[in-house]
Subunit: 190 residues, 2 copies
């Protein structure tokens, strides 16, 4: 569908005001005008780009994955996720992915490939979350965590991961969408 | 892994203050203490539960899906997603899913099954996003949109959807994770 066909859906930007800035994002009101002339304020949350890395270890035919287990301050519970983080200012997404992989697992990758990039939530998030597949992993260092980061690395085989993802502590939408991109990229969808 | 094994990861709640309340969520600072005695403030975003509905139309062997095409105020672009919305106060997730399906597409479903429930982002979101699969669809009404909602319904076949999901306007993490649950539930993963 061409952009032209969408003209009746597109709201025009009027003014925007920052409501509050936090260390991880800024909350903004955006006033917009609809094609049929209504005006209204909407909420937008400006965050840096995010990256998720799927670290795949190949041991013969068996595939294993590195996961991080940590307390999450949104849910208030311990969660199991793929390594992930924010892209620093001036950094590109691939560099951030390699950095987060090293910091959170102590591993470097021979191959780091972008396999997906989507909006975390188009309704109010302005950023993009990138997914990378890391292969040819080598452990070269101990973990190097951010201040106030506390995590365990956990290794899990393909079968167990396929069973457990999306449930219990392993239930993050960002990790699940990253796994979809892994399955699609790896030819594992029927 | 038992909860006991996670004791070295669990931060304890101290106090919490609301920073700002918007129509769609509240932003809160939570002060927490780590198992090794550090204290720090973290950001939590309290939102209502969310629902996404995958409306599957079966025409003989061919599967078709209903999507909504609308301007999104986070990305500032027109996006293509499964019908979705927030669970109203006092409502349960299944009721909200049926309501959103009716409001955004005019359809009712004979069968509405919960196929997944995850945190949108455990790092800062406190809510859960639920995915439902709707079958046995019947169009009974015109769209009944919220104030300031403006959308087109678009029908797409399984093959095209499989090709296009995760790309271009069809790139929402919430829609992609919902599609993972659909593929898993429908036996479409290898």
């Amino acid at each position: 569908m061409s952009q032209n066909d969408d003209a009746h859906l597109v709201w025009e930007d009027l003014q925007s005001e920052i409501l509050i800035e936090s260390p991880i994002f800024a909350l903004r009101t955006v006033h917009r005008r609809s094609p049929d002339g209504r005006t209204a304020p909407f909420i937008a949350l400006d965050a840096p780009q995010w990256v998720t890395v799927i670290p795949e270890l190949q041991d013969g035919v068996a595939k294993e994955f590195l996961l991080v287990r940590q307390f999450r301050h949104g849910t208030g519970e311990v969660g199991l996720e793929f390594p992930a983080g924010v892209v620093d200012e001036g950094e590109d997404a691939a560099t951030a992915a390699a950095r987060e992989l090293l910091e959170e697992t102590g591993h470097v990758a021979e191959s780091l490939v972008s396999i997906g990039a989507v909006s975390p939530n188009p309704a109010f998030m302005t950023n993009t979350t990138h997914t990378f597949l890391a292969k040819g992993l080598k452990k070269i260092a101990d973990l190097n965590l951010d201040e106030n980061e506390l995590l365990d690395v956990q290794q899990m085989g393909f079968e167990q991961l396929s069973q457990e993802i999306g449930q219990g502590p392993f239930a993050s939408a960002i990790t699940v969408q990253a796994w979809y991109f892994y399955l699609s990229h790896s030819g594992l969808l029927k």
